[in-house]
């Protein structure tokens, strides 16, 4: 579904991503793991076209993404839950979800999708009139995921959904990811919580200092010695 071939990117003269190739097939949940500063967020930003790739090819369902303006990426069926949730703090939960359905094609299905999001996150329904900035961290993450789902995406990009959350809440978030994979969503998830993410993912890539160092099936990587040592603390 999504395919990156030898993509490089950076900020000004600083290169953060080197020659990265990666593939996500329909229905899969794919994880990208790696330490802080590895370039994981950069990778998702390149896919969403928030920053330009300096080299390489990106395609979504065989259509090139390389020159698509960032606000049109969503029309390719890609929804991005950014790092740190980035809700609109002074909009209500429901208005945040409405922003997720901004594109004309999504507006028609607003009511129906809203119901689906509320079914997935009953808490959001209770809090729908509350300002998003006043939600707890876990609720904010759910709202952010819900907002992305409102566009009816084929592929969901999740940037560290568990970061900064209490252990119980982390469990709940991964439960949601598992549920979404079960429902058939295609997910590309970036995480530092390697232990958990490898349990919900089908495949994973290890990104270090901007380069893919390893890739394979999630259950295999869990048994990989290097990963065990550096990321699972075993």
């Amino acid at each position: 579904m999504l395919k990156l071939s030898n993509v490089s990117a950076g900020y000004g003269s600083f290169q953060a991503l080197f020659d990265t190739s990666l593939e996500v097939n329909a229905g899969e949940t794919v994880a990208v793991i790696g330490p802080n500063g590895a370039g994981k967020t950069t990778l998702l930003r390149v896919i969403s076209r928030l920053i330009d790739a300096s080299a390489g090819e990106m395609t979504m369902e065989a259509r090139s993404l390389n020159t698509v303006p960032s606000h049109e990426v969503i029309a390719y069926g890609i929804a991005h839950v950014p790092e740190n949730r980035r809700l609109f703090p002074r909009l209500s939960v429901e208005d945040n979800l409405r922003m997720g359905a901004y594109v004309p094609s999504a507006r028609a299905n607003f009511a129906e999708r809203l119901e689906r999001v509320y079914a997935l996150f009953p808490r959001m329904k209770e809090r729908r009139k509350q300002l998003a900035g006043t939600l707890s961290g876990g609720e904010q993450q759910m709202c952010a995921i819900g907002r992305a789902l409102m566009s009816g995406p084929k592929l969901l990009l999740l940037d560290e959904p568990s970061a900064g959350l209490a252990p119980v809440v982390v469990q709940a978030i991964f439960e949601v990811v598992r549920k979404m994979s079960a429902e058939g969503y295609t997910v590309l998830i970036v995480e530092q919580n390697v232990q958990q993410v490898l349990k919900v993912a089908d495949r994973a890539y290890l990104l270090e200092t901007g380069r893919i160092k390893l890739s394979g099936r999630a259950d295999e990587l869990r048994e990989n010695d290097a990963i065990k040592k550096s990321y699972l603390g075993l």
Partner: protein, 288 residues
């Protein structure tokens, strides 16, 4: 026994009506600031051009008044969009103060263009609305209309911002501009629309002012500063705050002008403004 002075009451009521105009003046500026984070110092000059547009439509081209008024609104809306595209957009990443100053340059430019194009004589659309006598008071019909239009404008704006996708996006973009593309929103398009809307509101204000005042190239200077004060005191970008501030200012001007001279009314209002800034720099409704 003369408990209250009927003329003082008249001043108070006229102050309330003046508040309507100030509120309308503040509305567009607040919208633009709230969304784009830029103060259009040349806002009053846009209104001035709107007044000329109405004058030309009605008195030079001989159109019916309503058409001239619509024309006035449309002209300023277009000017607002042009201002954004050609002046604000290039400096969006620059220092905030440069953004303020560049519109100050536009102020000079528009004033000069108006002088060049329309001359320095006073122009008048030749329509004077009557005074309305209520009991022993005389109230300006033009101000009454302005008050009602301002009220309608506020309500319309509120509904637009809270009930529509576009309005929601306009509120959202001021909170997080960088992720708007992830919602499928082209930020520049929203900015352009907002600027056109802000311009349209300025045009609406122009339509009401042209019923009461003569037009000349420097007229913007007479109500530009008061508009900024209203916006800042209400909390820049806070439309409800601006609305309330408009009525407070209007009372100072109207009642102050009743006891002293009209300039003293303004002086008191401005001094009050400066004092308020120190007491509540974030505006009357601001928190923190």
């Amino acid at each position: 026994m003369q408990v209250f002075d009927i003329f003082l009451l008249e001043a108070v009521v006229n102050g309330i009506l003046l508040g309507g105009i100030l509120a309308l003046l503040a509305l567009g500026l607040n919208l633009v600031f709230g969304v784009i984070d830029v103060v259009w110092i040349c806002y009053a000059e846009l209104i001035m051009l709107g007044m000329y547009a109405v004058y030309y439509g009605h008195n030079v081209f001989g159109w019916p008044l309503w058409l001239a008024l619509v024309f006035g609104v449309a002209v300023v809306a277009v000017l607002g969009a042009l201002l954004h595209q050609f002046v604000i957009r290039p400096v969006l990443a620059a220092e905030p103060i440069n953004q303020l100053l560049v519109t100050g340059g536009v102020l000079f430019f528009l004033q000069a263009v108006a002088t060049l194009a329309f001359g320095i004589e006073f122009k008048n659309i030749g329509i004077r609305l009557p005074q309305l006598s209520v009991g022993e008071m005389y109230l300006s019909v033009a101000r009454l209309i302005a008050f009602l239009v301002a009220l309608a404008g506020m309500i319309g704006m509120y509904l637009f911002l809270t009930r529509s996708y576009l309005g929601t996006a306009i509120r959202a973009i001021s909170q997080d501009r960088a992720i708007m593309p992830l919602m499928g929103v082209n930020p520049n398009r929203i900015f352009l629309i907002t600027s056109a809307l802000g311009g349209g509101l300025a045009g609406l204000a122009a339509c009401l002012l042209v019923l009461q005042y003569d037009i000349h190239p420097a007229i913007g200077l007479t109500f530009g500063p008061i508009t900024f004060m209203v916006c800042v005191m209400g909390g820049l970008g806070n439309m409800i705050g601006g609305f309330i501030a408009a009525f407070i200012f209007a009372q100072f001007i109207s009642v102050g002008g009743f006891f002293l001279h009209i300039e003293w009314g303004y002086v008191i209002a401005f001094v009050f403004f400066i004092g308020m800034m120190f007491w509540r720099p974030q505006g009357i409704l601001g928190s923190k």
